[in-house]
Subunit: 202 residues, 2 copies
């Protein structure tokens, strides 16, 4: 049995059970059924456990995103919509977020945001590129534009940084759709999906 994974899974289980605030090293050890000292035989620090956890959790999700995006014979707009729905269901993990949004975990929160940004931006850039080839978009710098697009999700829409009401989020999503429809010269209304799914759910 791989003890490293045992520890990671124990922490993940605690986070999934919304025990974010009580996810101390002692608790992780208890959950894993091992002594606290042993934790530090496999990891240098608690941060290192969480780093491994984030990598473990996001690796599969990003791989899945890439797969979803690359396999189908759909256009750039449909891909973007698909990625967006996968992002909402998959990437945003409430169990991890409860831990990340604790004040004391701001550093690792920031790191996670940067990681999500770095992992997703090439994928979004690729979609923008597809769109240009399909004459759906006009975009000189797909990579940079993708980064600007993702900055909103990583910062403005992060519930650990801001606490917007549903209505406020809706207005921001609409503005985002408008901005990028114009900015990418995309067909009018083609980015409506950014707020329509959210509009339904509230």
């Amino acid at each position: 049995m791989d003890k490293r994974n045992l520890i990671i899974e124990a922490m993940y289980k605690l986070l999934k059970e919304d025990k974010g605030a009580f996810c101390s090293v002692s608790e992780i050890a208890k959950e894993a059924g091992i002594g606290k000292g042993s934790i530090y035989y496999y990891f240098k620090s608690k941060d290192e456990i969480f780093d491994a956890l984030v990598e473990h959790v996001y690796y599969e999700k990003i791989r899945h995103c890439k797969e979803v995006i690359s396999c189908s014979h759909i256009n750039a707009l449909e891909k973007l919509q698909l990625l967006f729905s996968v992002y909402g269901q998959y990437i945003i993990d409430p169990s991890i977020d409860s831990y990340l949004h604790l004040q004391q975990n701001a550093a690792i929160h920031q790191k996670s945001l940067a990681q999500i940004h770095n992992l997703l931006s090439p994928i979004v850039a690729e979609i923008f590129n597809n769109g240009v080839n399909e004459n759906l978009f006009i975009c000189e710098s797909p990579q940079e534009t993708a980064e600007l697009f993702l900055s909103s999700f990583c910062f403005l829409f992060d519930p650990g940084i801001f606490s917007w009401s549903d209505n406020q989020i809706l207005k921001k999503l609409k503005a985002l759709a408008d901005l990028f429809e114009s900015g990418l010269s995309a067909p009018k209304g083609s980015l409506q999906f950014l707020y329509q799914s959210f509009q339904k759910q509230i």
Copy 2:
């Protein structure tokens, strides 16, 4: 003597002296020359001190921004350029940033970014609104669009989160200018100032 300010100033002093790691409540009390218990007479929690500190630090700076923007008889594009230069020289204070970007100060860093965002977004929104009235821009939701604009500066361009090369920053600034020129239907090249000043300095 206002004890609340005394406490805030004590904490601010510790942070400025790069004592971020030793900025415990006990240390703050010692620095302020009062008992630890008294801290909790004026603040509910350490977080609340953080909040007050961030507000205290940025209040004056934002007020100055507002003044600069409101007094002159210049159009929206010129105001935006003016704000942008003030932002670069004034809001981004390297001596403050150096401690904000320490790992241990990630929490206050995040709060500062949110605070800057919240304080600046109405100002930028007002400028966008001016632009609409002056037939320079087309913008349905100035407030939300301003927030999207500022998200980039607070997140993507924060040197504490990402370490881009000068060349990468230049490309991102160009993409930002392109995006918002199209997104706001602003005159072609009217947002060049976003990257031109940076281009000169490298």
